[in-house]
Chain length 553, copies 2
């Protein structure tokens, strides 16, 4: 469910880069994050104050501990500090994986911090290239890292500056020859505009160009205000070259911001997260660039220097916990907890208690039966409306079965009425009370107003409440010293109906239905509030229904 | 927006405990996580293999880097390893905060790992108690840590075992006297059942008892199968004592699992996250115990030993990015991207192109005008239905204004008809084509079926598409060498209407409305799919509408 992903990198205590950024990125992608530390830094958004090395043997020991126990689905490396550490990483990885059994390995060749601090000893570049690169699925240098790596490969003579799309093409080719399976050059510091990209696109028809957030045709209506003409806008271009030589370009608008601390860490961690979920490389890079771009856009503005990204932007908190053995109906449970007082007033209403004891005044019960008979008509119609709002045969069938149940229940009401001396004519012509009219009107209005789930919410309180009242009375009747009794109770049949198998089966189906709705379409906070409001309102109507009957006491 | 929270603790490379668990927990609570490392471990779910200490001066340097730059809202400490480290932490904190200006500080007095590894030197207990405890808002020992701390306070004579609720009461009191503002003893290893809790509750009526996931009264309907009688169930009880002496108890069912690696780290990090968001202590602890409990329930089953919790359980990925300067209408943009081909077929339909060039056959245009006149009746009625489904005056007003716009548009159609030689009688009695009937029926059915947002989705394609076609033609007309022209075009008025200020204002309001809906009620994946489906269907209907007109070419 959560694929394990490992980062092997340095620590940034201020949380914006290093393993901290990686772990946040893994979490944002639904991965199980793990991190082996190669070196510690004392740093913040203004720069790196100090570096504290870790012995290479302890780096190796950490990797052993992880790989001995857990099957990783992807690995990324960040700051590797020195040659010994790189060798330890390579040794540990080779110990655990055969050459064909490597998980995807993304190497972010971190050399120098944004603030200019050396994060990889100069003499370690050779080890990085010769020992680690051949194992990598992808390396992700930025402009200056690419230039540094390529200077090394050219025997330390300076590599020409990468300053255009054409020079990126050459540089990705040269980097690929150093051994990795693919190369992504991050173009954050290469100045390109859309005209350059369009020209390049014409000259290289084979290159896949993904334009994200650059307004395409057919979106005239989405343009706002006087933005600079698109062709003048500075854009950021990342270029991916895969082993077979194919090039993909990911272009998006440049954001004028100083919140770029940890951008490289974040991007490579995002790519590793996507690869861990078996995404193909082009799609992994595309998704990761979008994730990183949005992280910069939504930067929280923390610290006085180059602030961190918002790593958590694609996440929202959910309101309803998952189903579990000790909480089989989490949504309904929340509904009841949120309305505890009204719910208790309803299901343990004085009407219910007196009925359970067999001492409910007859006129209260007969009034109730007449009103409930009228109510059942609204209730059946509401399920008719539910059928009309359904989009599948099972949903239509379910709503229809409930109408049949309600028609049966109305028959039971006719029997009660006869038993209590109410003629069928009196029952059919009973005057509708306000409590009945208000509740019935609310049911159908809610159904017209909202979707099927909202209507189900309105129907739920009645269904569950009578089931709860029935079970509660049945339980009370078995308790020693209880005044609730079935024996000799004139209302025994009522208790038996609502605690009985047939009604309880309907309760069960109602519970399963509403839980499935909440699980299949987890509500936003606003929608959750709307659902709760409907549930509470109907529970109040239910209480009011019995209040009205008790006024005749 | 994301309150910064700092953990000062050890590293667990396998990701389940230490700063890794803390950072995940902070993320799950929407906090900005930071971490200062006190020691590294090589460990996994089977145990701790090795510990790598960090110098106390570097611990202090890390804290300095964080606190010099970032305003933290809460701090938690975990594994502090030895006396020097504790002193360095205390020194660094005191340097940055006055005694009254401390942020909430939660100390998890990690002494021994679940697997028995020493994580705090025995001689450091005294330093922990005498130097750090007085600064803490809360300490969170488990049973054995509490016993160890209390043995120390009693001059190393063994403290009686904590094995009941009553002994927890005494232990929290004794721990409080060691200096912290509050004490939470975690009862994971104290065996208690509901009968014990009920008895305790009777004897201590002042104690707040929060029963989470233990079925309360009025939830008979939620009970499933033959679970052991509640009174026999083993429960887990955490006991909180605050400085003023008040006690709160958090009880929940015991989960039989071996996935408990990092539970203590997680709980204390969750409490710190809640405190960072200005939650009161009782509520912070309650929420944090629920979070941790659900994390255990949802454990991903990683590793061969005591596996980690699911730290990410309250998070879901969102589908629609946030609004930004370069993406002012993110939801609509997604809709258009998801339906790129159909959308283009619609807004750049042959009908539109020929109309723009002024060479659209007259019979095509007159057929279209007649059918669109019929369609506008459905469209107006759909907004009437939207008004009926609205719950606020502004929503009702907005729907009503659009009906007025449509009535005006129908007037424009009458003018077009007259210009093109169609009598009002012919217009009113035009025979409805299939494309019109299908689209009109779909609009009203969708409105009956779903909620107001779903209806808006059905209304959107027409509104936006005509606006887009209008703007596109207007733009084309200004391009050099374009065959699209306004001058001398018999359909000029049509282009001017849909690219004009009044219609574009309606487009703008429509965009703002739908974006506000998507932002205010972010859809679940299922609901998002439902919305997309409606949007695509209507875009197809729009294309079909012009297809029908072009059949007369």
């Amino acid at each position: 469910m959560q694929p394990p992903v490992l980062t092997i990198a340095g620590s940034d205590p201020s949380g914006g880069a290093g393993i901290q950024a990686d772990l946040k990125t893994f979490a944002a992608h639904g991965c199980y994050g793990m991190s082996v530390l190669t070196a510690l830094t004392a740093q913040n958004t203004t720069g790196v104050q100090e570096v504290f090395p870790i012995t290479s043997s302890f780096v190796e020991q950490q990797i052993d501990s992880v790989l001995d126990d857990i099957e990783v689905r992807a690995i990324k490396t960040g700051m590797l500090y020195d040659s010994d550490t790189i060798r330890a990483v390579v040794r540990a990885l080779k110990k655990h994986f055969t050459s064909t059994g490597f998980p995807p390995l993304v190497c972010d060749p971190v050399c120098v911090s944004t603030s200019g601090h050396t994060l990889l000893h100069p003499d370690a570049v050779e080890t990085l290239v010769s020992e680690l690169f051949p194992l990598t699925t992808l390396i992700t240098p930025n402009k200056s890292e690419a230039e540094l790596l390529l200077s090394y490969s050219k025997n330390a003579s300076a590599y020409p500056e990468i300053k255009s799309l054409e020079s990126m093409v050459g540089a990705t080719q040269d980097l690929l020859s150093l051994g990795p399976q693919a190369v992504l050059i991050k173009g954050g510091h290469v100045v390109v505009n859309i005209a350059d990209l369009d020209k390049f696109s014409t000259q290289h028809p084979d290159v896949l160009i993904v334009r994200d957030g650059l307004f395409d045709e057919n979106m005239e209506i989405l343009q706002v205000g006087k933005t600079p003409s698109i062709s003048e806008q500075i854009i950021v271009v990342d270029m991916l070259r895969e082993h077979e030589g194919s090039i993909s370009i990911f272009a998006r608008p440049h954001i004028a911001t100083k919140s770029t601390h940890g951008t490289g860490c974040t991007l490579s961690a995002a790519i590793a997260s996507e690869l861990a979920q078996a995404q193909c490389l082009v799609e992994a890079v595309r998704t990761a660039t979008v994730y990183t771009h949005r992280g910069i856009e939504g930067a929280p503005g923390i610290g006085r220097g180059n602030g961190p990204l918002n790593h958590l932007h694609p996440l929202k908190r959910v309101l309803i916990p998952s189903k579990s053995a000790c909480n089989p109906y989490p949504f309904t449970r929340l509904l009841i907890e949120e309305s505890a007082t009204i719910w208790k007033d309803f299901v343990q209403h004085k009407f219910v208690k007196l009925l359970g004891q067999g001492i409910l005044p007859k006129q209260c019960f007969t009034y109730f039966i007449k009103q409930d008979y009228l109510y059942l008509k609204y209730y059946a119609r509401a399920y008719g409306l539910l059928a009309a709002k359904s989009t599948s045969f099972p949903e239509i069938a379910s709503a229809t079965r409930i109408i049949l149940d309600i028609l049966k229940e109305s028959g039971a009401h006719r029997t009660f009425a006869a038993q209590f001396g109410i003629s069928l004519e009196d029952l059919e012509n009973a005057e509708e009370g306000l409590a009945t009219a208000a509740y019935g009107g609310y049911l159908l209005t809610t159904g017209l107003e909202g979707d099927a789930t909202k209507l189900l919410m309105a129907q739920l309180s009645c269904l569950l409440g009578y089931g709860e009242a029935g079970l509660w009375l049945k339980k009370k009747a078995t308790e020693e010293g209880s005044t609730v009794a079935l024996e000799g109770n004139p209302y025994r049949r009522w208790i038996e109906i609502y605690s009985g198998e047939s009604y309880q089966k309907a309760v069960r189906i109602g519970l399963e239905t509403i839980e499935a709705r909440a699980e299949g379409d987890p509500p936003s906070p606003a929608r959750f509030q709307e659902w709760i409001t409907v549930w509470k309102r109907c529970t109040e109507f239910e209480r009011g229904f019995w209040d009205a009957a008790m006024q005749l006491e």
